[in-house]
Symmetry: C2
Subunit: 258 residues, 2 copies
Amino acid sequence: MNILWVFTHPESRSLNGSLRDAAVTHLTSSGHTVEQSDLYRMGWNPVVDAADYGHDSTRRLHVDTASSDALRNGTLAADIADEHKKLRQADAVVLQFPLWWFSMPAILKGWVDRVFIEGFGYGIRRDTGGTRRYGDGLMAGKRALIVTSMGGSEHTVSERGINGSLDELLFPIQHGLFWYTGMSVLPPVLVPSADRITAEGYVEAESLLHRRLDSMFTDAPVPFRQQNGGDYDERFVLRPEISAGESGVRVHSSLPGA
Amino acid sequence: MNILWVFTHPESRSLNGSLRDAAVTHLTSSGHTVEQSDLYRMGWNPVVDAADYGHDSTRRLHVDTASSDALRNGTLAADIADEHKKLRQADAVVLQFPLWWFSMPAILKGWVDRVFIEGFGYGIRRDTGGTRRYGDGLMAGKRALIVTSMGGSEHTVSERGINGSLDELLFPIQHGLFWYTGMSVLPPVLVPSADRITAEGYVEAESLLHRRLDSMFTDAPVPFRQQNGGDYDERFVLRPEISAGESGVRVHSSLPGA
């Protein structure tokens, strides 16, 4: 299979760098092909800007239409077009990053902002009317995985941990990006207490990651609900009989008990 | 009062640009002083990098210690030091941005990543032991407000809307950044369906924003729970008797019914 590994860390000699190197070796020796986007090494520009679209700066910029026009006309910045090509060829996408302020580092957020433009990431019309979104889109058929590290302990992102649960913190990425664009979402791999990890802890983390990679094409994805599957009404609000009386991010998946 | 207005949009002739201009005029004519960080206009660099800290790149970079060392030694990049000065002088901080992929645009995320470093945004020790965090920190006493726009309708970010509720989507910022660093958090101002706004709709949005700004120093903030207030145990997990049996981001505030 083809795997696109998006790596985000300013220091390749970091915990994340070691995990990435070992994972790429592991995947390759398992017969997969790994394409990398090492954002710091690439000097990735994270800032959405009129220049990406060959837009005439004397006219007001509408990011959505300017970007979809550029995509259609082939005038999109070359670095974005390269990432589109990598994504189209991928069977799975891995985003690896340290959790900074409970979210992606800016350079990775800017990979998302600049790459997932209208006509590629959103605004894809269905032949039958409406929009391909949440469970459908150009990324349908691909698998997606977050690999992340944090300084705090696992308790702090548990269901009642002070930072909010990991599912809630990653919901904008897992549901709002991966699932939105049609990808099948795997539960994230978290390396907690990363600043205090021991040699044994590192070996365990690497081993856990390799096991998760071994089963990434066979594991059951998170059962997020399809936008066009009947669970949402015409305003895109969950119908009252689905997870009746409940709220919170978990109602958007059909896990038992949710 | 002194207000720091952090503006994030690539186009000053946008809905967001108009709202910003009107708000700054409104605040100034109400007797406030407004300091702006217009990130696109400033050409803000959003990428955390060894160069920010005068770090010797032959040695492994640890972002947390390198940044706190640079802060202590006065070797921090000048643009970061400038933002620290603005933040220290502010009585309130407004972050204005279009919601891109259910989060901050990368340039704003990089303002957070580069400015809120160890020793300024986190890792502040208490005299009595432990850490100043969640309701306490260098930003204590300041108020914080998000002003954001989105293309989708308000229904889509309602309690059971397909995108997840606005409270959940903004939790990493409202709770994970503002409250974490000690700020008192005001409920966000949202301009939904921004791509389809009418002239009347714009007038309403501007008027709503001005009303919210008029009461920003008197409105009751979101009653998030203090880390050191007794509601969390020594692992920073909510004690079982607090919001017993419940989970989700709402358990971290003491709103009635939460």
